[in-house]
Amino acid sequence: MNRRLRNALKGLTAPDDDRRRRAMEPFVRETFQMFIRYLYRYLGNEVECEDVLEDVYGDIWEKPDRLRDVENERQLLRTVYLYYMRKRLREVYRRMNRHLYLSQNDLTNLTAPELGTLDTMSQSELKQALGRALGRLKARERRAIELWLDGMSVRAIANELKTTVGAVKMLKFRTILKLKKMMSEYCHDQ
């Protein structure tokens, strides 16, 4: 953890309200990119990410106790997700629940899940793990995922791979499960 972030955290956990408020700006500057990227995983929408994050920072200012013993960035991200982000993420879709054929539990699992092994990895670690896992896939499977990551639709991928939409969906599903297994293995090795 860099010195500025450590100082900001120290200021955030101070008993004095004004000092905490002054410490918020450097804290936001140091953590904004990290937090917004993390939230993007769950929302995929910049506007919603910023709205949620604004409330998250407000909550941190109000009750910063959870951050008192944080020692590194990974721990910070984990703590902020578990105690501040999850609550706000749940609220985003809570109002919709009465119109959905999905139980409250499943909705929570989909929009603000418990932390799995992959969720605790940093962005750079994930990129590394994903790169390795992609390298171990068959050419066709890798191509399907790469095209997907390039932003292509399923139909466009089907055209590219000269197959049907249904076959691409099946291929993607199986490949993603394969990726999950490979990345989990990578996590345990590390």
Partner: protein
């Protein structure tokens, strides 16, 4: 007409698409009762959904157009200011700031 009985791989594909496009509510609303049950019963779906979120973070979060940090910090400060104002003006806060009235206890006292 939209497909109302999607298989698990189709549901995952649609979930991944919705997450990538930032339109998760559309996907959630499109689910039928049967599809909801299919999702609930499938462990593979939840395993795969975890990877889909990771792919979303790794593949697309860097490309997201986020606000300027300075502007965002002032938004956060305004949020905090409004919380402070709300806390000061709420009746609960006012009650806790002052000592409780002692009239009740006095009433209970027996006259000598």
């Amino acid at each position: 007409m939209a497909d109302t009985n999607r298989k698990i791989q189709e549901l995952l594909s649609d979930y991944a698409g919705a997450l990538r496009d930032g339109s998760l509510p559309v996907f959630l609303k499109s689910l039928t009762r049967q599809e909801g049950k299919t999702m609930t019963c499938s462990d593979d779906f939840w395993e795969a959904a975890q990877v889909v979120r990771v792919l979303n973070g790794v593949g697309f979060a860097d490309k997201a157009a986020t606000a300027d940090v300075g502007l965002f910090a002032s938004r956060v400060d305004a949020n905090i200011a409004s919380r402070v104002k709300k806390a000061k003006s709420s009746p609960r806060a006012r009650r806790t700031n002052h000592a409780r009235p002692t009239t009740r206890t006095r009433k209970a006292e027996k006259p000598i």
